[in-house]
Symmetry: C2
Subunit: 117 residues, 2 copies
Amino acid sequence: MSKKNNSVEVICPLDYAFRRIGGKYKGRILWYLKSNEVMRYGELKRAVTDITTKMLTQTLRELEEDALISRKVYHELPPKVEYSLTDEGAEMLPFIDYLRHWGAKQMEKREMVDLKC
Amino acid sequence: MSKKNNSVEVICPLDYAFRRIGGKYKGRILWYLKSNEVMRYGELKRAVTDITTKMLTQTLRELEEDALISRKVYHELPPKVEYSLTDEGAEMLPFIDYLRHWGAKQMEKREMVDLKC
DNA sequence: CAGTATCCCCCTAGATACTG
DNA sequence: CAGTATCTAGGGGGATACTG
């Protein structure tokens, strides 16, 4: 994130936006959070098929840094952490949703198996 | 493209869509094509700052394969090739635009220099 | 439960040279 | 003008083991 945001020069707003939500799992995470309002770490881990803990943590931190999601820690044992969309994150939903439909249409055209999200 | 589309298994429509328009330059190319209706290869090369011919060609081919742009070749000397949005490509514009605005807002918040697109 | 910490591979993208 | 063809580097992402 620091690299994406600082070291690598940003060309324009569109370029910036794509880098911020362009990770391999970001779209799906935002999407799952939409449907569930609030999700725990383990829940997300199960929802985002095949993601590793490393990538999940890393992606969640980037989304948090960009103020697209918020992270609430309950200091108890066992630990409990809840993730949810911020208002800004919710602003991305129309876009995400449109992409989903576009993707589904494309997959149908190409006769690919649609596993849904 | 063959790899992205075939070898690597697609998880869901959202995942698929992100791979298709998630390249480093795709958003900007679609955006420039919107403003100009039709653009020649060299024009695009100048518009998309710092892109190499290899990446430009590769990206244009992928967009064409996904039916987001069309490519018209004039068989004359010197060669002339024009690129334009398809109807399907044009369908992406509202969302590209949405992303641009979101990106601009974010950049302002972070006091980054906005070079426009 | 919710993460860290390493090690490592591969793929995207960049640099450079060449061509019908 | 509109591309190909190679070669290469960097970093995003994967696998695995460990922890407060």
